[in-house]
């Protein structure tokens, strides 16, 4: 096969995917940046170039800063916790355990159930007074807690739902990785008398590293993308204490009809993700070469 033909074949194979990829990811990303320098067209008034006016508005937008802070905190908690839980789940389900099938299904169930529906159930759990959590607390003489109605508690409450939703999904990746670890390694470790914990720390965890990287990318994505439960449980309230960036973008674009400012907010999210992407590409690159 000549080189020229190889080029053409390569390009032909790529074309369909690239067309869609550019149409719905790269071009819109660039257009978003352009739109953020224009005003929102309304009725008869077309969009006009406004320079950095949208960005100036953003800097003075207290809601934006609040939402940014929420999302940072949300990511910092949900990512490590759901990954740690996913590893624990995978180890448990991979090992010898009574009722393993049920346990595995229980962990995975949240992935299969639509968050938009289960968020309603969580809302019942969190309802003060007659909600499940309060009913259980009442057995021990606990007072009512307004989980979703208290700005100090609400972000934590929605984080729990996100972790519940995600850990089982990540578990699947770890399960696959665990099962590709050669049994001979464990046997060798067992002969040397290594404890399970030592084995995990020295052998399993390092071998899971590529999976952890991969899962962490997914976790970062979900920390930005997964806002379904916000729609149902809090609508971002009280006073934006549970609002996340994507929810705020949705509100701005499809409730306030301010598409220019929504683009500006999107640019910020894209910038943050790009920085993360560059960092993670280095790690992925290493992994690829490693193989």
């Amino acid at each position: 096969m000549t080189r020229r033909i190889e080029w053409i074949h390569g390009w032909l194979l790529l074309t369909p995917a690239l067309v869609l990829l550019f149409a719905f990811t790269h071009v819109p990303a660039v257009k978003t940046i352009i739109d953020s320098f224009f005003s929102t067209p309304r009725g008869a008034r077309p969009a006009t170039f406004v320079g950095t006016a949208n960005y100036e508005f953003l800097l003075n937008d207290a809601t934006f800063w609040r939402v940014l802070e929420n999302n940072a905190l949300y990511a910092l908690v949900t990512i490590p916790v759901s990954i740690a839980l996913a590893i624990a789940m995978a180890l448990w389900v991979d090992g010898k355990l009574k009722g393993r099938g049920f346990v595995r299904m229980a962990y995975f169930a949240p992935t299969v159930l639509p968050l938009i529906a289960t968020a309603n159930i969580w809302m019942f759990f969190y309802t003060p007074g007659f909600g499940l959590i309060d009913q259980v607390r009442a057995l021990f003489g606990g007072a009512q807690v307004n989980w979703l109605g208290d700005p100090q508690l609400v972000l934590g409450a929605v984080m729990v739902v996100a972790i519940w939703k995600e850990a089982g999904f990540f578990m699947i990746f770890y399960l696959a990785a665990l099962q590709s670890i050669p049994p001979s390694l464990r046997e060798a470790a067992a002969i040397e008398g290594a404890s399970r914990w030592t084995f995990f720390r020295r052998v399993t965890f390092p071998l899971l590293m590529p999976t952890t990287l991969f899962v962490s990318i997914n976790a970062v994505i979900n920390a930005v993308r997964l806002v379904d439960h916000i729609f149902v449980m809090t609508e971002g309230g009280p006073d934006n204490h549970s609002s996340l960036l994507l929810y705020y973008i949705y509100e701005t674009a499809f409730k306030f009809w301010d598409t220019a400012y929504a683009s500006t907010l999107t640019v910020v999210v894209l910038a943050i993700l790009s920085v993360l992407a560059i960092g993670q590409f280095h790690l992925i690159d290493r992994r690829v070469h490693y193989r």
Binding site: R42, M123, T127, G149, P151, G237, P238
Partner: protein
């Protein structure tokens, strides 16, 4: 890109042309409607539409159930911007300014012809028309309209030594009753609250009940000036905050709207403020005797209105606009309005609808249905401004900040007013 846009517009024009050519024989109307209450609402609208088409064979109506109010305005604005708007639609009354700003709708005065039509316009409850007119012109016709009322648990009232037939008449009584109704267990934990005014999602609506009672309006008729920092508004917010913090008769923090009826059924609260749209729900599910009353008064009784209006869209032919008007006139006529009200719990928007035999019979069997109508005398327009969703969000955030103790009422409302001014100054 612009070529594609043009192509889109051409396609729109072609579609419009196709509609024009068929309008020689029959007028085709597309009609978007939302459903915000469960049950038979969608079915009733479809039945009404079919009845109309049967009686008017020269008109065809494509009635499209567009989802929630939010879905409907989104779908409509998308269609307007794409050059293929519906001919008529039911949309929130507070979206009037948005629709005007998008240059999407026409005033009814520009479509009606004679004095009889004018008389028809004048026959709706003025409280509902407040949200339907601006600058002396009528843009919306009240259809699925509601208003908040007070529901109380008669058994809980009797247990607390209160007259089960008498709800609190004013703010002070609401607190006084609330204190008697709030029950605590041995640990001091509350098992039943006195009153519940939900504050999640759209707290401004019920809050507007309080401000109206304190005799202050939140925005002007032109929709370009708000009043959030008025001392009377601050006083109203202070009262709302005090219910939980000072008087301890209401659960602290944000109270979920969606869980409110259930909390009432479960005896978590002895009184609740919620929409008349809940009448049927409460009647079917409350395991105790309940009463429905007007919201308690302060300086005066008062409540906001809510719900959706009919709008006629600009980008239609004269024949289509005439046909739309005729359909709206028919569906809002007394018999149809009564049928709609009985099926859904919405408030029939015209006094003459309440005089129909069907309505009289309904009210006789279920006198609670009358409360909303009687309250209309004191009702005011729901908060509506230009950039409506953004302005109400600003107010909602301020209310939530005060209710959760993040800010005191004055600071929260002063800040909200400043933010609203910044946005609305462009419209003055």
């Amino acid at each position: 890109m612009s070529i594609l846009k043009k192509a889109g517009m051409l396609a729109g024009a072609a579609a419009l042309g196709a509609m024009l050519s068929t309008s020689a024989q029959a007028v085709e109307l597309q009609f978007f409607f939302p459903v915000a209450v469960g049950g038979k609402a969608a079915q009733t609208i479809e039945d009404l539409t079919n009845d109309y088409v049967k009686a008017n064979p020269d008109v065809t109506i494509d009635a499209v159930y567009a989802g929630s109010y939010q879905d409907t305005i989104t779908k409509t604005l998308t269609a307007v911007r794409g050059g293929t708007p519906p001919q008529l639609s039911v949309i929130l009354s507070v979206d009037m300014f948005t629709l005007i700003e998008e240059d999407a709708i026409v005033a009814f005065e520009d479509v009606i012809e004679d004095g009889a039509d004018q008389a028809w316009l004048d026959a709706f409850y003025p409280a509902f028309m407040d949200n339907s007119t601006t600058g002396g012109k009528t843009y919306g016709i009240p259809f699925q309209r509601s208003t908040p009322v007070l529901y109380w648990n008669k058994e809980a009232f009797a247990e607390a030594g209160l007259d089960p037939e008498t709800p609190p008449a004013n703010w002070e009584e609401q607190v006084e009753f609330g204190k008697k109704l709030t029950k605590r267990d041995a640990d001091g934990n509350v098992t039943q609250w006195g009153v519940r005014i939900p504050s999640s999602g759209f707290p401004y609506w019920l809050f507007q009940g309080l401000t109206t009672q304190n005799d202050v309006i939140l925005a002007n008729d032109a929709g370009n000036e708000t009043n959030f920092d008025d001392p009377k508004v601050i006083e109203a917010l202070q009262y709302l905050v005090d219910l939980s913090t000072k008087h301890e008769v209401m659960q602290p923090g944000i109270i979920e709207w969606g869980a409110t009826p259930k909390a009432f059924f479960e005896g978590q609260t002895a009184m609740m403020w919620t929409t008349t749209g809940n009448l049927t729900n409460v009647r079917e599910n409350a395991p105790f005797d309940f009463g429905v009353g007007m919201l308690p008064a302060k300086v005066r009784p008062g409540a906001p209105t809510g719900g959706g209006n009919f709008y006629i869209f600009k980008d239609s032919t004269d024949a289509q606009q005439k046909a739309s008007l005729d359909f709206i006139k028919w569906i809002s006529a007394p018999e149809q309005a009564a049928r709609w009200s009985i099926a859904t719990g919405y408030v029939a928007p015209r006094p003459d609808a309440w005089e129909t035999p069907a309505m009289k019979e309904y009210v006789e069997g279920f006198p609670q249905a009358k409360v909303a109508r009687d309250q209309l005398e004191y009702a005011v327009a729901e908060l509506a401004t230009y950039q409506n969703q953004r302005i109400t969000t600003i107010l909602n955030d301020a209310l939530e900040a005060a209710i959760t103790g993040q800010k005191d009422p004055k600071t929260a409302l002063d800040e909200a007013q400043a933010q609203a001014d910044r946005i609305l100054s462009a419209y003055r």
